[in-house]
Amino acid sequence: MNNGPRNKTLHQPAEQRIHNFSEVNLGFDDNLMMEEASRCINCKNAPCRTGCPVGINIPAFIQCLTKNDKDGALAVISEASLLPAICGRVCPQENQCEGKCIRKAKLGGSVAIGALERYVGDYGLKKGTADLKAPAFNGKKVAVIGSGPAGLACAADCAQKGFKVTIFEAFHKAGGVLVYGIPEFRLPKDDVVAKEIDKLKALGVEFRLNTVVGKAITFDELKEEYDAIFIGTGAGLPMFMGIKGENLNGVSSANELLTRVNLMQAYKDDAITPVYCGKSVAVIGAGNVAMDAARTAKRIGGGEVYIIYRRGREEMPARAEEIDHAEEEGIKLVLLTNPVEILGEEGKVCGIKCVKMELGEPDASGRRRPIPVEGSEFVIDVDQVVVALGTSPNPLMRKSCKELEFSKKGTIIVNEESMATSVDNIYAGGDAVTGAATVILAMGAGRKAAKAIIEKLA
């Protein structure tokens, strides 16, 4: 066993990366990979596996890596996940597999499972799709609505079992949040996402882009043509705070900023889609999307970027790594602070008025409730405000499939084991069910639904 401390992945230096959109985390090279793989004790209980929403046999793939058997490692991961190059990059491993690793507390830190998975995933992408081909058609057809992580995972599993799968996507590119939301510097679009999607195409999955289900094709039409339907439409309408000044020019949702920059590639010199680049930007919220928005604003605007959050650092919902990266890039955390008004001049943002907060008793979420400190108002001069407070479910689905049961919040109600909705042969998963959550949870839900579809129909 290697008793050494956890190996760090290679990174693009902060002072360099704030001037480009290339990937920040460069992963392990071959030597680091071997070093890190040898740190796995291959313990019997493998608690890491219980932390993985898709149940990858983690010790088994790492054991392959210790022998430099990359094909073997890829085969082990492929049993559970078709998209390791994506998950290795964006899963919150510290709360999942790595959070359960027995080396976490004392033995030099958890094994860097995510970085090892990514290494294997990237190896798989280099191999291409030559080994993949569509299995014999089992006679049944599945419609998947939305090509984000939930839809891709569901489609992959169904396709491997011989279903004819069609994915309907509203945008002109497949990938959902993987292409419109998560920035290029965290998840490369052409080199990673598009190649992972090519694997599905090689399995015979058909992508119907520019097609909004409920508008361009009705649920009844889908039900007629397909034996099962999986809804993975993701989260929807961006939430705003409801404070004065939110509709001033220069205020946008994180979704809008990220979509313009990621999907529409507004950061490129030859891009047609415009994007507003403030010289001093306030990002409201402290989740992963807020970190993505702040780091994007830093790259396109180059000025000061503040993350304003009403609770403390401990309570920030973003991954620790994302917060660290943001701080390394010079983004300022303005904690225990809540915006009360966005100030404008001639219709444009010129500042944000905030109030200081202190933490009181724990609230329903178990986190200490932030309480405004009287008389503590102050103004930060900014010319752009980006609101990253999450989303509420898209009303399109409710309007177009009225038989489905929805929660009060507007999310789709499912059986948590099978992801079956209230309507026969319609399944759902991902943010459309949970509200805004993570890529891997969505993929886990997509796989659960696929399992149920396969058991019922194959």
Partner: protein, 271 residues
């Protein structure tokens, strides 16, 4: 897919494009819009559907050359195809409960109200139309409106056709003449829609406006199209595009619609 089967010039720098799109033509209704990407790598631009033919599987878009993408569109020839087209988006017009509907169109907005006039005629419902433009060369499809509406009134700013003045001049005349007006549907520049709404407010005539806001996705994801209606934030793409004209905060909407015009020279990544 998305082949331009016919292109007509209808006014200077204004063209009609008949686009072959089986899915959209099958499901669209008056009041809805599509989002178009002209060439690969282009921006997403919303256009209201101004006619459709379910048998020929086509929709018609009216495009005024005003910015980068519409210039690119002007370069396309019959037989060329649009890179992407998604729709129908937004909610259809729903004004069948009004017996005496006045349609008001300003400039190219006339094209947007046309399918409503046509559909009402097919359903046996009446409508009058007021068409307005700066000058007569900018007006088109008058005969089509005559074929589908009870009365066709025209205004031009310079008096070259119809009443000299604005659509509001004509609307005021009709109100003064005692016309029974149950509802007004108005489509055109925001300032015109606001002026019509201000006029009808005085007479308590329900007034519906179609908000052509900035949009990216058009499906309720980006929030770029948000506007304030009756004190609440609404999204033009999924809640609209038609709203109660008496409740829309036009000053805010007009300010927002100007935003990217000021940023036409986009900032780029610093060196």
């Amino acid at each position: 897919m998305n082949e331009l089967v016919k292109i007509y010039d209808v006014a200077p720098r204004v063209r009609k494009y008949v686009v072959h799109t089986p899915v959209v033509s099958k499901h669209c209704l008056p009041g809805q819009f599509v989002i178009v990407i002209v060439n690969e790598g282009g921006e997403r631009v919303p256009f209201t559907i101004c006619d459709f033919d379910r048998e020929k599987e086509t929709i018609t878009l009216l495009v005024q050359e005003v910015g980068y993408s519409t210039h690119k569109m002007a370069e396309l020839k019959e037989g060329d195809s649009l890179y992407a087209l998604v729709g129908p988006l937004g909610n259809p017009t729903d004004l069948d409960q009004y017996e005496n509907l006045v349609l008001v169109g300003g400039g190219i907005g006339c094209a947007v109200i046309y399918p409503q006039a046509k559909l009402r005629k097919q359903k046996g419902l009446k409508s009058d139309v007021i068409m307005g433009a700066r000058t007569k060369d900018l007006l088109f499809d008058i005969d089509e409106f005559k074929a589908n509406c009870e009365h066709v009134y025209i205004s031009t700013d310079d008096g070259s056709l119809g009443t000299k003045g604005f659509v509001t001049t004509v609307l005021q005349e009709r109100i003064d003449a005692g016309d029974k007006i149950d509802c007004v549907l108005v489509v055109g520049p925001m300032i015109m829609m606001r002026n019509v709404a201000e006029l009808t407010r005085k007479y308590n005539i329900p007034t519906v406006v179609s908000m052509n806001t900035i949009m990216v996705d058009g499906t309720g994801m980006c929030g770029g199209c948000r506007l304030t209606v009756g004190g609440e934030t609404k999204y033009a793409c999924v809640d609209g595009p038609e709203f109660d004209g008496h409740k829309v905060d036009f000053a805010e909407a007009m300010n927002r619609s100007r935003f990217y015009r000021e940023h036409e020279d986009k900032c780029r990544l610093r060196g």
